[in-house]
């Protein structure tokens, strides 16, 4: 069965999108990319530090994974747009994970700045992947302004609280006309599996893997978790029942 993820017209070999932040070293990034089988990784744009040895870009190109630059840390549409444009120039990609956060404590998106930035970046030719909250109406607006995907959070970035409101994720999936990527909140494998069972097309996570006690093992766990959830979604689960339902024959019992 062919069940490839297609984002912005590109086929990707994995439904797990990996953020590279939080890893203690490029060696660990290298390890988790390999173990996760991801085909798309996020990076941030920061001031050049001539003293740093090695580049995340080399690691990513060695693995042949696509780059999804983000606008992490931007607080206004203007900052985010400039950052996206610089990323496009530096990395030669029109793809951008659009983050416009309200503050550094919650790291929650600012709905109004986000829609503004998304609309203008789309007009400028970008393929916009917005990091959004789980409001189905905001997700709808982001699609209407031309985003190529919507990426609702399950819980605050790095919290590991999983999916706090599965009902909203289901509402977003039910009416989505672009891929839905669960972004932020995943803490462990079952969170990723649940996201896919709810109908998400992919899962984006960083801390859950990069900050796990054993990042490589957790990367492998997440790869399996995303597959498990996707397969379960396609397989069609049994309904929940209030009462038991025997799985062994109730006839042919011996009289002993």
């Amino acid at each position: 069965m062919s069940d490839e993820l297609v984002l912005a017209g590109e086929k990707l070999g994995s439904r797990l999108i990996l953020g590279t932040g939080g890893a203690p070293s490029l060696q660990v990034v290298d390890e988790v990319i390999g173990a996760s089988g991801t085909a798309l990784c996020t990076v941030s744009m920061r001031r050049v530090d001539p003293s740093t040895a090695g580049s995340i870009l080399d690691v990513l190109s060695r693995h042949g994974v696509r780059i999804l630059p983000n606008t992490a840390g931007c607080r206004t549409a203007r900052e985010a747009i400039l950052t996206a444009q610089l990323a496009r120039d530096a990395l030669d990609t029109e793809w951008v994970k659009l983050e416009v956060i309200a503050d550094d404590d919650t790291l929650l998106p600012d709905a109004i700045e986000l829609v503004d930035a998304a609309e203008r970046l789309v007009a400028d030719g970008f393929k916009v992947f917005p990091y959004t909250n789980d409001d189905p109406i905001l997700a709808r607006r982001l699609q209407r302004v031309g985003c190529v995907a919507v990426m609702p959070l399950g819980a605050p970035i790095g919290s590991g609280l999983g999916i706090l409101n599965p009902h909203n994720i289901e509402l977003i999936v039910a009416e989505a006309e672009v891929p839905v990527v669960l972004d932020a909140g995943v803490g462990t494998a079952s969170d990723a599996t649940l996201a896919m069972e709810l109908g998400c097309d992919a899962v984006l996570l960083a801390s859950a893997v990069t900050r796990a006690q054993d990042p490589g093992l957790m990367a492998a766990a997440m790869a399996a978790a995303v597959d498990a959830g996707r397969l379960a979604r396609l397989a069609g689960r049994i309904p929940k029942r209030e009462h038991a339902h025997a799985s062994s024959p109730t006839t042919g019992m011996a009289v002993l």
Binding site: G19, V29, T42, S44, R46, V48, L57, L86, A87, A90
Partner: protein, 66 residues
């Protein structure tokens, strides 16, 4: 003249271009983007971008993130 590069004051020869600055500061310009006074300066344009005293230049590249 003096310009601000990534937030730090930096002295550079009068008439230097953005390309000169990058060449002087960085081993390689691979994966680097630049903004001058809050405007994007496309990579291709650097040789033609003459820097002026007091300008603020931001040189960015990709790092682990997200």
């Amino acid at each position: 003249m003096h310009i601000t590069v990534n937030g730090e004051l930096h002295e550079i020869a009068d008439g230097a271009t953005l390309a000169d600055l990058v060449a002087e500061r960085l081993r390689s310009d691979k994966g680097v983007a630049a903004a001058v006074d809050g405007e994007v300066a496309p990579r291709g344009s650097w040789p033609g971008v003459a820097l002026r005293d007091g300008q603020a230049v931001e040189l960015l590249t990709a790092v682990q993130g997200g």
